[in-house]
C-alpha cells in the first residue's frame, strides 16, 4: 500500500468537501440563519487540515494499483460522510452522532432514508446541504474532484472504476479527467434544466433546486414533509417522474446523443430492458390499484411516479403505496433490487448485471441439452468475456450474503419481518423508503435502534460503492504496511 500517495489524494478530496460546504454557507447567509457558523467552521477545518496534512508533492513512488484505488474510494466516502454529518450534529437538528452519520451517508449514497421525523423546523441551509449531498454523491465524489484536478495521473482509472457503478467501467474519452468533466457537465446541465422547468411551473427556487438535486442524484430527500406529494401539483410529479427515469439511464447514452451518434445510443440493450421493465411494472400496478382510484389518469400517474421513483432508486413519494395491494408491493420490492442502469446515478444491482445473468443462465440451460455447446454472450453486439460474467456472479453472491446477514442483524431490533427485510433491501439498494408502517413511504427510520442504524449505514455504503471498496476497508490485509500481503 502506498500510504503517502493515499494520504495525498484523500487530503485533496477532503479539501474539496471543505470548498463544497461554502454553498450551504451561502444559503445560510441568504436566509439569515445562524447555522452559517457551523458550515464555516467545518469548511475551515477541512481546508486548513487538508493543506497541513497533505504534502503537495509526493516524492518517489507515486504508483497506485487497484487496491489503493479501492481503499481511497472507501476511505473517502467514510470521511466525507463523517465530516459532512457534523453539520447535523453541531446545528443540533439530530440528537445522536449515529443519527447524523446515518442521515449523511443516506445523503451521499443517494439513498434518501431519513431519521428526521419532520423537516418543518430544520433550517433551510441544513436541508440544502442534505439535498446537495445527493447531487455530489450521485455521480461520485471522487469523479467530481477528478473532473477538476488530476488525482493520480495515469492511474486514475483504478479510482474511477471503483466508484462508477456497473460491472465494467468504460470511458467515453481517452482521458479519465476529460471523461469525468464531460459526465459532470452533462449532469449539471440536466439538473439545471430540471430546476428551471420546476421553477417555471411555479415551484419556489429553493425547493426547485433541492428537489432537482434529489432527482438528479436519484436520492430522494425532500424539503417538505410528505415529499413531492405535498405540493399536490401533477405537473411537478410528471416532470420529476420523467427526470427520475432519465437519471436512471447510463450517462454514456447522453454523450452519444450529444455527439449525434444516434446509432450507438439506440442499440443499448440495457436501456431498452430498463424501459420495458418500467412499462410493464406501470401496467401491472395500474391494473392492480385501479379499483382504489376514481380516475384512470390518477392511478396511472401515481403508478408512473412510484415505479420510476423506485427503479431509479430515488425514493420520492406521491402516493402511500403501503395502502396498495400486496401484488403491487411485491413489484415495488423487486424494482428496488433491480435498480437503474450501469453508469447512471441510480443504485440497485443494475440492469446490466441482470441482463448478463439472464443470458448466462440461458446458456447454462442450453448446455444441459448440448453438453459441448460453445456460446459467446454478447451485449450490444459486443462480446462479454467470461471473466466479466463470473465477476457478475461473484458480485451477486456477495450481494445476497450481505443482504441475509444484514436482515439477520436488523431483525435483532424486534420490528416486524417486512420492516426488517424492506429496510435492508431499501438501504442496500440506495432507494430510501421501505415497506410497512415504520419505514414505508410515509414513515422514517428514527424509531430503529442505534445498532440497526449502524448496520443500515454500512449497507448504504456497500450498496453505493458496489460492495468491494467497503469490504476491503474491513479486511486486515489492506492495513499491513510491510511484508507480504495476503
Amino acid at each position: 500500500m502506498n500510504f503517502k500517495m493515499i494520504r495525498n489524494i484523500i487530503m485533496k478530496l477532503m479539501m474539496a468537501e471543505g470548498i463544497l460546504l461554502i454553498l450551504p454557507l451561502i444559503v445560510a447567509v441568504i436566509y439569515n440563519e445562524k447555522e452559517w457558523k457551523v458550515f464555516a467552521a467545518i469548511s475551515a477545518v477541512l481546508i486548513i487540515g487538508g493543506l497541513l496534512l497533505g504534502d503537495r508533492r509526493v516524492k518517489g513512488n507515486t504508483r497506485i494499483f487497484a487496491r489503493e484505488g479501492f481503499f481511497i474510494v472507501g476511505m473517502t466516502w467514510v470521511l466525507w460522510s463523517f465530516f459532512g454529518c457534523l453539520v447535523f450534529y453541531f446545528s443540533g437538528v439530530l440528537p445522536t452522532l449515529v443519527d447524523c452519520f446515518f442521515e449523511m451517508v443516506s445523503g451521499f449514497t443517494t439513498t434518501g432514508a431519513s431519521v428526521f421525523i419532520t423537516v418543518a423546523d430544520v433550517p433551510k441551509s441544513v436541508l440544502f446541504w442534505r439535498s446537495f449531498s445527493h447531487w455530489v454523491g450521485g455521480m461520485g465524489v471522487l469523479v467530481f474532484v477528478m473532473a477538476l484536478i488530476p488525482l493520480a495521473k495515469n492511474r486514475s482509472m483504478y479510482i474511477m472504476g471503483a466508484e462508477v457503478p456497473g460491472p465494467v467501467a468504460g470511458k467515453i474519452l481517452p482521458k479519465a479527467g476529460a471523461t469525468a468533466k464531460t459526465l459532470y457537465l452533462m449532469y449539471f446541465a440536466m439538473t439545471m434544466a430540471l430546476a428551471a422547468i420546476l421553477a417555471f411551473g411555479g415551484m419556489p427556487i429553493y425547493d426547485a433546486l433541492c428537489n432537482a438535486f434529489g432527482t438528479a442524484g436519484t436520492g430522494g430527500f425532500a424539503v417538505r414533509d410528505g415529499s413531492i406529494g405535498s405540493y399536490g401539483n401533477p405537473f411537478y410529479e410528471i416532470v420529476i417522474a420523467i427526470f427520475m427515469m432519465l437519471f436512471g439511464i447510463n450517462f454514456n447514452i447522453y454523450y452519444y446523443l450529444m455527439n449525434r451518434k444516434i446509432k450507438d445510443a439506440v442499440k443499448n440493450t440495457e436501456m431498452w430492458t430498463y424501459f420495458a421493465i418500467i412499462a410493464s411494472a406501470i401496467t401491472l400496478i395500474t391494473v392492480d390499484i385501479i379499483g382504489m382510484y376514481t380516475s384512470l389518469g390518477h392511478a396511472l400517474r401515481d403508478a408512473f411516479f412510484t415505479v420510476t421513483s423506485i427503479i431509479s432508486t430515488t425514493g420520492f413519494g406521491t402516493a402511500n403505496y403501503d395502502l396498495w395491494p400486496n401484488f403491487s408491493k411485491t413489484i415495488i420490492l423487486l424494482l428496488m433490487i433491480l435498480g437503474g442502469c450501469a453508469g447512471s446515478t441510480g443504485g440497485g444491482i443494475k440492469i446490466a448485471r441482470v441482463v448478463i445473468i439472464a443470458k448466462a443462465m440461458r446458456r447454462e440451460l442450453k448446455k444441459l441439452v448440448h453438453p459441448r455447446l460453445v456460446q459467446v454472450i454478447k451485449i450490444d453486439g459486443k462480446r462479454v468475456d467470461d471473466k466479466a460474467i463470473s465477476g457478475v456472479f461473484v458480485y451477486m453472491l456477495f450481494y445476497v450474503v450481505i443482504m441475509f446477514v444484514s436482515c439477520f442483524l436488523v431483525a435483532i431490533d424486534g420490528k416486524d419481518l417486512m420492516t426488517s427485510i424492506s429496510a435492508v433491501i431499501s438501504c442496500l439498494n440506495n432507494v430510501g423508503p421501505g415497506i410497512g408502517d415504520i419505514v414505508g413511504s410515509v414513515g422514517n427510520y428514527s424509531t430503529l435502534s442505534a445498532f440497526s442504524k449502524i448496520v443500515l449505514t454500512i449497507d448504504m455504503l456497500i450498496g453505493r460503492l458496489e460492495i468491494f471498496p467497503v469490504l476491503l476497508l474491513l479486511s486486515p490485509g489492506m492495513w499491513r504496511l510491510k511484508g507480504a500481503d495476503w
Partner: protein, 456 residues
Amino acid sequence: MKIVIIGAGKVGHKLAQQLAKEDHDIVVIDIDPKATSVLANSEDVMCITGNAAEYDIQVEAGVKESDLVIACTDSDELNMLCCLLCKNHGAAKTIARVRSPEYIKQMRYISDAMGLSMFINPEMEAASAISRVLLFPAANSVETFAKGKVELVEFTLDETNPLVGKSLKNIHRTYSNNVLLCAVQRGEDVFIPDGDTVLKKADRIYVASSRQNIHDFFSEIGILMTPVRSVMIVGGGKLGYYLALRLIKRGIKVKVIEQKQTRCDELSDKLPELIVIKGDGTDQELLEEERIAGYDAFVSLTGMDEINIILSLYAKSRNVGKAISKVTQIDFTDMLMDLGIESAISPKDITANSILSYVRALHNSRDKSKVESLSFLVGGKVEALEFRVIGNDDFLNVPFKELITTKGCLVASIVRGADIIIPGGNDCIKKDDDIIIVTTNSQINSLQEIFKVKPQ
C-alpha cells in the same frame, strides 16, 4: 494530438504509456480483451477490443478526427491494411510496422501506394543499432545526429579508466577538448554533469562529437579502438540477416550459427560471403569447434532472452571483446549491466523509441518549433534533441557566457556546415546551425525555451 494505436503488444503498450504521459489523447485497439483490459487499468488511455480493420471499430475509435494512426500488430499485412483504411477514413498520418524483408525491399512503392507517413522495421532498426555499437566496440550504444555528422556514444567506466576519480574541469585541462561529456548515469540516477562533477567507477557516460574526435579521445584515454573484424552471430532470423548484410558491406567477416536447414539455405543463398553453420548455438562443443574465442565480437539473437544472456556471458568468459544480446521480454536491463552485459538490444524498445521520436517531432513541428530529431537515452530518462536554427531570435550571435540556459539542458554540439563545434563560453549560435541539446527535461520543445539573453 489524437493518436490511435493499433495493437497492444509490447510496442503498443510502451507507446501508449509514453504518449499518454505526454498528454496526448490515446485510443488503443486490440483484438485480445486481456491485452486491452491490462492497458486500460494501468494507463489513462481508452481501449477498444476488436479488429481495427473493421469500419465500426474505426468509427468508435474516432479515426476520422485522429492526427496519427500507428499500426504495430504482429501482422505486416494487417498493419498495412489498417493504415490504408484509416488513411482513407480520414486519419492525417499513418505509421506501419513492417518486418518482412520482401515488403521492405519495395517499401518506397508500398508507402506511396498506401499513403504511409512512416514505416518501421524493428529488425532493421535493431541491426543498425547493433552495427553502430560494433563499429565502436568500447561503446554500449551509439546514436547519430545531423545526418551522421555527430555521434553520441555511451560507455561504461571500468576501474582502469583514467577518467575515474577526475572532475570534469580536470579532464578538460588534461585532454584535448574535442568532445563533450553530456550525461552521466550513476546507479539509477541520471544527471547532466557540470565542471565539479567527479566521475566514479561504473558510471555510464555519454560523449558527443564527430566520430573521428571520439576515436581520438578514446585512444587518448587508452581505450583500445581496434575495429571489429570478425563477428559470430547465433540465430539467423530476420535480425541476423539484416545485421550480417550490414556487416558484410563493411568488409567484416561474419559467421552465423542457425539451427534450421531451410533458413541456412536461404541465408547462404542471399549472402554468399556469409559463413553459415547449421547447428545448435547453445552447444558449447560447437561454439568451441567454431572457435568462438577467436572472434572480436559475439552477438546472440535467438528467440529466447535467457539463452541470449547466457551465451553472451559465455562469450565474455571466453574473452570475446564485445558481446551483445537481444533481449525482448525481460525488463531488468540494470541487472544485466551488473552481470557484465553492457549492450542489450531490444528491437521492440528501439521500435517504440523511433516512433516516439517521430511523434515528438511531428507534434513539435505543429507548434512551429523545429525539432529535427529526438533520441531517448538511458531508458528515456535523458533526451537528445536536434534543432535547426531558422528564426531570428535574440539569442543568435550572442556568446554562451552571456546567455542563461534552462536548468537540465546542455548544448552537446553545434554543426555549422561541415564543422562540428564543441561549444565553449565564447561560441555562439548562428542562423542555419544544427544544434544538439541533451536534456533531462522532457518538456523542452523549442530553442526559445532553452536560451534567454542575460539582462545587461
